[in-house]
Symmetry: C2
Subunit: 198 residues, 2 copies
Amino acid sequence: MTTLGYAILGLLAQEALSGYDLTQRMKGRVGNFWSARHSQIYPELARLEGDGYVTHSVVAQQDRPDKKVYEITAAGLETLKEWVTEPPSPRPTRDELVLKAYCVWLADPEKAARLFREEELRHEEQLARYEKTRDWMESEHGEEVNRPDSPWFAGYASLRRGIGYETEYAQWCRWVADSIEGKAEPSGRRKKGRDSKS
Amino acid sequence: MTTLGYAILGLLAQEALSGYDLTQRMKGRVGNFWSARHSQIYPELARLEGDGYVTHSVVAQQDRPDKKVYEITAAGLETLKEWVTEPPSPRPTRDELVLKAYCVWLADPEKAARLFREEELRHEEQLARYEKTRDWMESEHGEEVNRPDSPWFAGYASLRRGIGYETEYAQWCRWVADSIEGKAEPSGRRKKGRDSKS
DNA sequence: AAAACATATGTCAATAGTGACATAGCAAAA
DNA sequence: TTTTGCTATGTCACTATTGACATATGTTTT
């Protein structure tokens, strides 16, 4: 099984969905921690069906093309449940902006500061969207988000990861930009025993 | 140019290195934000050389096999400098643990709590390693880490990103584990106007 | 009427990345 | 002296992922 397979099973465990629906989910909130295009999803669904983890039925629609709605099978649910508590296989993080930070000593300071200000903004905007969803979840599903056996708790937990991630990322971007512009607190003590003497 | 190409150029901009050296860097601290195996690095070096971004010279060693030491060219440095302040091409984040969190409502609570405790520990250990490096950098290179045109500042900046990332990640893991065990603060207000009445 | 757009499902070639296989020199340990 | 281990460089098959191409239905906009 691929991780994408588990991602699909995880979505189907909550509700029956078409390939198109799954694609939308993978662009939306779920896509913030696992994403895939339809060109990867359709073949994966076929594979999952071949292995007996999902089944589909064709649903005719009035004002739209027909669709294949996929459901998770008992075997699929079983496999998914086992996977959930298994330690994740380590995946290397690859972050282009951190790589750029590592090379920033070569750059024009003004352009570099602008870059990190822009990225700070991007992450703050994402954070604002997450926080809106969180507030809605807390006010509309305040009971469920505290019950670990509820899908609402699970969705809330991954959302909180997104919030923490974006908060920290935006902060870091701000610190880098400030440092380049000489606005940040100087970091680290100077070498031994030379403290604020001025 | 691939991002791996820029990663290699970024390392060579600081010092001349062999393919083997580069592989070690990509496993070490640099590997925490951009990693690659030697099977990807050697062909990429050949490509970079073919495009005129690096050159190599064979260096004979007394007690080891010969090595090819790569240096960045003027053209390579030029290209790298331009790239640094360019906005990064968006890469989807894929985090298996967050995906597992999204499915955690299906899991046995004890096993799930154990999983997140283990991950919390992993991230705290990584954090401790980063902090040790940071402290060393601050005490041994306190001047340079504050100068944006110094490679020390650049390395320090990416290290700080690692520290923030691991700090936040460990916290989140702890919160998830606590929540599953019923130890966390209940999140969110209950629906309208029902406050701590007990 | 034509164009643009959303729904819906698929294939395919190319790229990025991994893991295994392969080879070789030299050193230290068993 | 054989094995183990680190240095050093390379190739190759396979998997994961992307972006482009392809097709069809039905609705809304121009």
